[in-house]
Every structure is written in structure tokens, then in C-alpha cells.
Amino acid sequence: MIRFENVHKSFGKHEVLKGIDAEVDKGQVMCLIGASGSGKSTMLRCVNGLEDYQSGRISIDGETINAHASSIHAIRTRVAMVFQRFNLFPHMTALQNVMEGPIHVLGENRDEVRARAEEHLRRVGLAEKMDFYPSALSGGQQQRVAIARALAMRPDAILLDEPTSALDPEMVGEVLSVLRDLAQERMTMLIVTHEIQFAREVADGVIFLDQGRIAEHGSAEAVLSKPTHPRTQDFLRRVTHPV
């Protein structure tokens, strides 16, 4: 469904993606892991055109992603994104945040959208917080609103960029449990994460990125439990047994 073919991406002279080939199938959860600076966030952000790439091809259901083409707006409505720092709209309540896209981008009926948005917020456990502004919510609650905002677009896939990295430790669990539910419902997800245990649990596939290249790629079991590449072994040792 989401396909990378020999994708190269540079920031100026610095090449961050050096020929990425990968594929995420429908209903699959793919986790991207790797050290910071390995290019995993960039790889994710290329999918919905928040970053462009210089060569190769990224496609969704066969449609090529071009960050500079006008087609990108329609593609973004089909591929939702959840950010590390939530990026909720601070001048809108939780409910308004969730309703914003369907009403003002997709032009859907307000009453239907409201019902659906309330349902999504209930699902992520925020029935009581619908009319709160983001500043009155904890990090974990904000991130769950952000997930509800993504779901409200009824996307074909969701991109998640380190969804728990900005959270206090006690709030990581509530966000991961929402993501676990989504995985169970076969929502297609591409997740950049440092939560190795979580990846082991929910991921169908894991990609280990090292300096802009895919060093290892396979089932969660294969990559996380029996890594063959020395860089993967080294990385996993460091994140699972931090010094």
C-alpha cells in the first residue's frame, strides 16, 4: 500500500535517505527504529509530503507522492499523521480539533462529524474532556486527542512520528494502549518509535534504519529478537539496557 522505491533525500549536501526500499501492506503495522539522525522521521514525513525527496519513488496505492504537486492535499486526507509534540490547535477544544479536518477540509456534514468525533474521543477514553482546550489536558490526553483527530479523517493509513517520546513515562501506557487497539483493528500504521517492547507486541514488520539506509528489515520477531546486523544488535542493546 505504501511503497518506497530507491528513495533518496538530502538536506542541502547532507544525504539523509540513501536509497530506501520498503513496503507497508494494507492492515499492517510497520515500526521504524534506529538511532536519532538515522533518517526515520524523515522517511515518515516524506510519505505525506511534509518533506520532499530527490529521487526514487514513494507511492500510496500506486499513486506517486510529490510534495510539490497539488495532488498532495488529497493524499494527506487519506494518510493521517500523529506528531511527537501532538500539535493540537490551541485555540480549539478537543472536540473542535477532531472535527476540524472532516468539516473544513472534507466538507462533511457537521452533525454527522460531531457524532463521529465524539465517538472517536470516547474510544480514546476522553469522553469527559471533549470541551477542554489542549492547554488544560495532559500530554497523554493531548496525544490521544491527536489520534482521534487522525482517525476522524477516516484515513487509509496513519503515520506516527515518535508518538510517545514527548510524554512523561506514566502517560506512555495510555497512548500505547490506544495504538494497540488500532493495530488489532488492522489499521495500517507506519510508526517511528523507541518503544521496543511495544514494537515487538504489535508490529507486523520492523525496519531498522542506520545512517539513511535500511540495515535490517523483517518481522518484529526476526529484527528485534534475533538481529543479524551488528548495528541493530548494538542499538537494541543500548535501548533495552540503557546505561
Partner: protein
């Protein structure tokens, strides 16, 4: 000379008509300058060179000319080019043009201060540039720009006195005429200053209130 209170009573009607002219000039030029300033700010933050560059040059050009010269130009030079404006109209246009630059820079600062993540979040739900500015960026930018915008308002109010040089009968002009006919400089200009303060002090208080209220809302 008659007693002070009598003199104040005598001068007040004339100065009050001047005060209303000052309010009218200020409000009209504020509305125009804000609209125009928003245009400059949107052009400059459009990300398109053929919009941002002209806006930048216009703003730098206008900012480099003293208000008095702008006013003289509009009032005395434009008629030769076929644009005949009354002193009042010329005053409003001159102030609006000059202040559109300050206000435009204020708005631009607000727009640029909005967190990058907001832009990315708006894009990621498929918003196009125009809607993103309208629904996500500008509401936040205005909030950020409000304190400096309030300062611009007070400065514009005070600078409206400059239009007296092209004979708009606003507060300063009326004061000058009154003083030169009565030679009672102290009373007249003290009254003029007091009347300006009657406008600027409430305006400052109002701005502080609005800021507090907006600050509390988020």
C-alpha cells in the same frame, strides 16, 4: 484675563470638535492600515517570491519616508497627478499607508511566531495554504501580535496630530489656532495634552484587559 475655569469652558467646545476629528482620523486610518498591513503580512509569508518581494520593497520604501513627507506628497503632489483629496482624506491615506508598514510587520512577526508544528498539523489534515492561514495560523498570530498591535494603535493616535500640517482641523490643529489667537499657550496646550491622555490612557487599559482575557482563554 478671565479666570481659569471660564477660559477652559470657552476653549473646550473648539477643542472637542478637534478631538472628534482626531478620533475619526485615527479610527479610519487604523482600519485601512490594519487591512493593508494584513495584506503585506500575508504577501510576505506566502512563500511565493513574486508576492513576498514586492511586499517587502513596498514596506521598506514607505518606512523610509517620514510621515510628514508622505502627507505633503499626498496632499500637495498628488493633485498635480490628478488625484485631488481633501485634507482629511489625504491625512487618513497618509497615516494609513505609513502605519500599514508598522502594523504589517507586527502581523508578520505574529505569523512567524506561530509554532511550525501548527502548520504541519494543518497540512497533514489536507488543508491548503489559504484555509490554513485563515483557520489555524492567523487566529494564533493575532493573539501573539496583539500587544505590539496595541502599541501601534496608541502611536497612530498620537501621530494623527501630524496631519495638522496639512490643515486637518484635529485636536492639535485646533489647539495651535486657539493658542495663537488667545496667546494663552499654557492653558490651551495643557488642555490639548489632557484630551490626548483621555484617549490614550483608556486605550492602554483596554488593551491590557483584552490581553489578559485572551491569555486566559488558552
Amino acid at each position: 484675563m478671565s479666570p481659569l475655569l471660564e477660559r477652559i469652558q470657552e476653549y473646550l467646545p473648539l477643542l472637542t470638535t478637534g478631538l472628534w476629528q482626531t478620533v475619526a482620523v485615527t479610527l479610519l486610518s487604523l482600519v485601512l492600515a490594519s487591512a493593508l498591513g494584513l495584506v503585506w503580512a500575508l504577501m510576505r509569508s506566502s512563500g511565493t517570491r513574486w508576492l513576498s518581494l514586492p511586499a517587502r520593497y513596498i514596506v521598506e520604501f514607505l518606512r523610509g519616508i517620514p510621515i510628514l513627507v508622505v502627507l505633503f506628497y499626498i496632499y500637495f503632489v498628488m493633485p498635480e497627478l490628478g488625484l485631488d483629496l481633501t485634507a482629511f482624506q489625504a491625512g487618513v491615506v497618509g497615516l494609513a499607508l505609513t502605519y500599514s508598514c508598522y502594523i504589517g510587520e507586527t502581523f508578520r512577526g505574529g505569523i512567524e511566531a506561530v509554532d511550525r508544528g501548527q502548520v504541519e498539523a494543518a497540512k497533514s489534515i489536507g488543508m491548503k495554504h489559504g484555509k490554513m492561514m485563515r483557520r489555524i495560523v492567523l487566529p494564533q498570530a493575532f493573539r501573539i501580535a496583539l500587544p505590539p498591535y496595541g502599541n501601534n494603535m496608541v502611536m497612530l493616535l498620537k501621530d494623527s496630530s501630524q496631519v495638522s500640517v496639512i490643515s486637518v482641523a484635529e485636536l492639535t490643529m485646533q489647539g495651535k489656532m486657539l493658542a495663537s489667537s488667545t496667546f494663552d499657550n499654557m492653558t490651551v496646550f495643557t488642555m490639548v495634552a489632557a484630551l490626548y491622555l483621555c484617549l490614550t490612557i483608556p486605550l492602554n487599559i483596554l488593551m491590557r484587559r483584552v490581553e489578559l482575557k485572551l491569555g486566559a482563554a488558552t
